[in-house]
């Protein structure tokens, strides 16, 4: 078969998982490897990661230590590999693949050591949400966050001899007698390139930005219509499409990592920080619908907002709450580095004023006026606010069981609201793999020469991203890439 060029391994996707696979190939074997990245720059979703998941790591072993900040609260502990695995099984209601979960958990600590070898310094090992007791202490926070990690990894790939081709989207897989033998791609100048390969690693980040696939696969109705894109990822399901075209079995496809975000604003903005708080949340009928302390888990919050028929939630505050957030005690719940816990939002009022013309925020001197501004039924909303304030005064939320500490009344004018929308960060799973990260067909037989890694590989999730094990997406991306590469080396070298 004729090719324009041949490599031993082709990694499709230049994010954390693709580069990890390529780096491993280049540094642990004599196999030739290239990365095909469809965008101008590598990085993928990994550049937005705030932390990396691992158990029994050298960083965990070194803590708590007087030189390190953030000693573990009483009762908290760093999990074992077994606890790590079991949490994937439990949270997914046994939809997780034990082979995959074990492969990841038991090899996660090496990812931390590799990154440290590349120059990453970890500032802390913690959890994501301050008030989420279910979380495991697996969240390794790197200095410089995801972008810095990806910069270092890319430099390491280049120095190790990996050929990285950007603006080079892979378009289809080439097979011969049921075996993957290459990839067709379009290079930066639009030339079609036939690239021979003995192994191909699919690392394209899932389908979170492909609304046709979101509509087809997500269990959340209308999310494809109601979604707001808060980070500029472009994961359009290329790997899933290519895998399916050669007989891959798609399994547990549909889970999405969704985050709530103020419409038209960034995750780290003050107005989103305020809207994200466990204030009084109402839907477009003016009705309350949940225990707003769900904000402690952004994954559950995302689902909660997305499950509204129109994907819109109004986060209602009064003047006292805005003052508290802007210059008082600050945030009651955090969102990693996007919304630091117990931090004020000094520009909140200005951001609210700026958002009002856009329809992303609302302000009125009366509850009825706020209802009118939001477009909800005034009588319904007024009754909801009154009942909520009664719960606040009593210190007990009989309707939705929100913890007392989050019960802040809506009483002092002026009144505000932000419009929160569901934002898909990344899809979670899809291509069924085995414990070697080989893509499998409907009979669970590996398709020769084909691997899937990162968030387009099935194996960890059920219907929702598992925030009980924070850092899973990023940790799995890097660990899966490395393990797939090692299996390739074992079969080819």
């Amino acid at each position: 078969m004729a090719f324009d060029v041949e490599y031993d391994v082709v990694c499709i996707g230049g994010g954390g998982s693709g580069k990890s696979a390529a780096y491993t190939i280049a540094t642990e074997s004599d196999l030739s490897v290239c990365v095909l990245e469809k965008l101008e720059n590598c990085g993928g979703s990994s550049i937005y990661a705030e932390g990396t998941c691992a158990s029994e790591s050298s960083e965990q072993a070194a803590r708590p230590h007087p030189d390190y900040p953030g000693e573990l609260p009483e009762g908290a502990h760093f999990p074992t590999h077994e606890e790590h695995v079991q949490r994937y099984i439990d949270y997914s209601h046994h939809r997780a693949n034990v082979e995959v979960a074990k492969a990841f958990a038991y090899n996660s600590s090496e990812t931390i050591d590799i990154y440290k070898g590349l120059g990453i310094e970890y500032t802390d090992v913690t959890i994501y949400a301050f008030d989420q007791p279910a979380e495991l202490y697996t969240f390794h926070r790197p200095e410089g966050l995801g972008q810095h990690c990806q910069d270092l990894l890319e430099r390491a790939c280049v120095n190790a001899g990996v050929d990285i081709f950007t603006n080079t989207p892979a378009q289809e897989l080439i097979t011969e007698d049921g075996k993957i033998v290459g990839v067709v791609a379009k290079d930066a100048d639009g030339n079609e390139m036939r690239i021979g390969a003995k192994a191909v690693v699919l690392a394209t980040g899932g389908f979170g930005n492909n609304m046709e696939m979101v509509e087809k696969y997500s269990w959340i109705p209308n999310i494809h219509k109601n979604h707001y894109q808060s980070v500029p990822t472009q994961n359009t399901g290329d790997g899933i499409r290519m895998a399916e075209s050669v007989g891959a079995h798609l399994k547990d496809i549909g889970a999405l990592m969704i985050i709530g975000c103020t419409e038209g604003r960034t995750l780290g903005s003050g107005i989103n920080g305020a809207g994200y708080q466990p204030n009084l949340w109402v839907d477009t009928k003016g009705k309350r619908f949940c225990n707003e302390a769900v904000a402690n888990s952004f994954a559950d919050t995302g689902n909660t907002i997305a499950m509204r028929d129109d994907g819109i939630v109004f986060s209602v505050m009064d003047e006292d709450t805005v003052t508290r957030l802007e210059s008082g005690t600050g945030s009651a719940v955090g969102l990693g580095d996007f919304i630091p816990i117990h931090k004020t939002m000094p520009t909140l009022r200005a951001e609210i004023e700026e958002a009002i013309p856009d329809g992303a925020a609302f302000k009125a001197d009366t509850i009825e006026g706020l209802a009118e501004a939001m477009g909800v039924d005034a009588e319904t909303f007024k009754a909801v606010v009154e009942k909520y304030n009664e719960a606040c005064d009593a210190g007990k939320d009989d309707e939705f069981m929100k913890p007392t500490k989050f019960l802040q009344p809506v009483r002092k004018a002026p009144f505000y609201a932000t419009k929160q929308r569901p934002s898909i960060l990344v899809s979670c799973g899809g291509i069924r793999i085995n414990g070697n990260f080989q893509v499998t067909d409907k009979d669970y037989v590996a398709i020769p020469g084909l691997y899937a890694v990162g968030m387009e590989a099935t194996g960890l999730f059920g219907d929702t991203y598992n925030l009980d094990v924070p850092g899973t997406a990023n940790g799995f991306a890097h660990t899966s890439g490395r393990l797939a590469a090692r299996h390739i080396i074992s079969t080819l070298a």
């Binding site: 430099r155 280049v158 120095n159 190790a160 930066a188 030339n191």
Partner: protein, 242 residues
């Protein structure tokens, strides 16, 4: 008019690993094209036709960079390491330029990754040199250079031979695609060594390329706010601020 475009002649400072004791190491780091190398290539293309452009590089890393951008051939001095001694690298580059024969213009990125190399190269060649060049065009036997100065652009019409230190104004606009890059690997590469070119040894070592940005920060322990404020006031008075 023949142009030698020098590329990939030092290491990317971002790849340096600095440990707590100040020691610098470069584990597994290869030489990299600098951020100004594309500008040097633009100068070469402005001055010469493709068949008259030769790429010159040293050390490890990929030698096809200039060929992928239009150079007809490449000379690489494989064992001329871009280490602390910029003069050694400069002498190797100068020798490689001479081995390419009848070069009229040497274009090199005016990079602050290692400023000493450019100056030493000019000295090794003994040619006149122009720095901060943002554009170049051949005009008959002369070269029209656009030089960026604080007061604006200056246009110079100069006769070869010369060294042109080019400065990039933005990121490279058209990175060669895969086809172009693979084709470049088939272009001729003359592999030389320090010995084969008779390159003289360097004259010293380089401890750095720039002075520190400013005075080190003073960090106050904030566990006792009153004490921290007192220390801050003392420091401000000591610096002459108050």
């Amino acid at each position: 008019m023949k142009t030698a475009v020098v590329f990939k002649w030092c290491k990317d400072p971002q790849d340096a690993r600095v440990s707590a004791d100040g020691a610098v190491s470069w584990p597994g780091v290869k030489l990299s094209p600098t951020e100004d190398d594309p500008a040097a290539m633009d100068v070469a293309r402005g001055v010469s036709a493709e068949e008259d452009i030769v790429g010159v590089t040293i050390g490890d890393g990929k030698p096809e960079w200039a060929a992928a951008r239009g150079a007809a051939s490449t000379v690489v001095v494989e064992d001329a390491f871009g280490g602390p001694d910029g003069t050694a690298a400069a002498r190797a580059i100068a020798a490689a330029v001479k081995s390419a024969g009848d070069v009229d213009v040497v274009a090199i990125g005016d990079s602050d990754w290692d400023r000493g190399v450019v100056s030493a190269l000019v000295g090794a060649l003994g040619w006149k040199a122009y720095a901060n060049v943002t554009a170049a065009q051949a005009e008959g036997d002369d070269v029209r250079l656009t030089i960026k100065t604080p007061a604006g652009n200056r246009i110079v019409l100069a006769k070869p031979p010369m060294v042109v230190a080019a400065q990039a104004l933005s990121q490279e606009a058209n990175v060669p695609g895969m086809k172009q890059t693979l084709a470049a690997r088939k272009k001729p590469v003359a592999k030389e060594s320090v010995a084969s070119l008779g390159v003289a040894a360097g004259v010293g070592t380089s401890a750095g390329t720039r002075l520190p940005e400013g005075d080190a920060a003073i960090i106050f322990d904030g566990s006792d706010p009153s004490n921290a404020v007192a220390q801050l006031m003392d420091a401000l008075r000591g610096e002459g601020v108050l």
